[in-house]
Symmetry: C2
Subunit: 159 residues, 2 copies
DNA sequence: GTATGTGCAAAACGTTTGCAAGTTC
DNA sequence: GAACTTGCAAACGTTTTGCACATAC
C-alpha cells in the first residue's frame, strides 16, 4: 500500500491530462484538493478533507470539495466506498490495484486485501449468472484480534 | 429463493418470540408491516413499503415504518443493503441463507447468488489477516445480457 | 396505571444546487 | 469576453426525533 504515496507529480500529471480531455479547467482549489487526496494514504471522508484544510489555515468550501470529489470520481482517480456509515469514504486509485476491505466493527480500522483466487471466482460466478462484471465491492465486517476492548465506537450502520 | 414466502405464520411466530425476548410490545402496525415484509420477495425500500400501504388504503406513518425497520434489524429478521443509491434496500432473512448480490447497472435488477467456495475463501482470508469475520457484503455491479438497451435508469451512485 | 408505541410535523444529516462574483483560457 | 469555477446559503431527500395522544399489558 505504500506505493500509493510514491509519486505525487505523476499522479498530478494524470489528473491534468484527464481534466483536459474532459474539458475541466485547472484551478488552485482543484489542484490543492487533488494533491491532498493523492498524499492521503487512508480512506477519507469529505468532512475529514475539509476539516484538515481548515486546520492548516487553508480554506476550501464544502461545495468545492464535493465538486472536486465528483470530478475525480468521473475521471476515475478516486473510488467511493460505503462502509455502513451515513457518509461515504474515498481513496485514490492511481498506484494501487483493485482490492477489497476488512472493516473492524470495534475500532473502525480499515484494512485492504486482494486475492487473485477471489477475483477470478467473482468473475466466474458473474458470468455463470449471465452478467458482465463491471464493478464489485466486497466488505468484510470483522473483529480484529488486537483491538483494545474500549474502542467500541465504529459499529456498522448500513451495508 | 422461493422458499422465502413459504410460511408466513412461522416467520410471524419468530417475530413475536424475539419481540417478547427484547421487550417490544405487539401492535397492529408492527404486525402489518412485518407481514408485508415477510410476504415481499424482492429487495424493498422504506418508501416502497409506505407507498404500497397507501395504495392499499392502509395507513402507516413513515416514522413507524422506519421504527419497525430498526426493530427488525435489531431482531435480525431483516438485512440492510447499500446498492449505491441514496436510500437503503432491505430484505427479510428467515427462510434463506446468506447470499451475495449482482445488481444490473442498467435496469436495476437485483439477483442473489451464493457460492460455498466464495464463502470459505472469505473466511480464510479474514482469518489470515488476523480478524474474526462477523458480516460480509459482496455486491457485483454488472450488465445483464438480457437487459433492453433503453432501460438505462439505475446507475450506481455510491458503493 | 405505567410504560410503550404512534403520528405528525419539525429537525437532522450528508450532499447538491442556484446564483452572483471571481477566474481561466 | 465567453465559458467555467467558486463560495455562500438555501434546498434537497432520506432518515430521525420531540412531543401530545393513544394503546398495550
Amino acid at each position: 500500500m505504500e506505493q500509493r504515496s510514491a509519486n505525487i507529480s505523476r499522479e498530478m500529471s494524470l489528473l491534468k491530462e484527464r481534466m483536459q480531455q474532459n474539458h475541466y479547467k485547472s484551478t488552485p482549489q482543484r489542484d490543492e484538493i487533488a494533491e491532498w487526496i493523492f498524499r492521503t494514504h487512508e480512506h477519507f471522508t469529505v468532512d475529514a478533507l475539509v476539516s484538515n484544510f481548515r486546520e492548516q489555515g487553508k480554506k476550501v468550501s464544502q461545495a468545492t470539495a464535493y465538486r472536486v470529489i465528483q470530478m475525480m470520481l468521473e475521471l476515475k482517480l478516486i473510488e467511493e466506498h460505503d462502509f455502513g456509515k451515513d457518509y461515504k469514504f474515498y481513496e485514490h486509485t492511481p498506484g494501487h490495484e483493485h482490492h477489497d476491505h476488512i472493516v473492524c466493527i470495534d475500532c473502525g480500522k480499515i484494512i485492504e486485501f486482494s486475492d487473485q483466487g477471489l477475483e477470478s471466482l467473482k468473475e466466474k460466478i458473474t458470468l455463470k449468472n449471465g452478467f458482465r462484471m463491471k464493478e464489485h465491492h466486497l466488505t468484510i465486517y470483522a473483529e480484529c484480534t488486537t483491538c483494545p476492548p474500549d474502542k467500541k465506537g465504529f459499529k456498522k450502520k448500513g451495508a
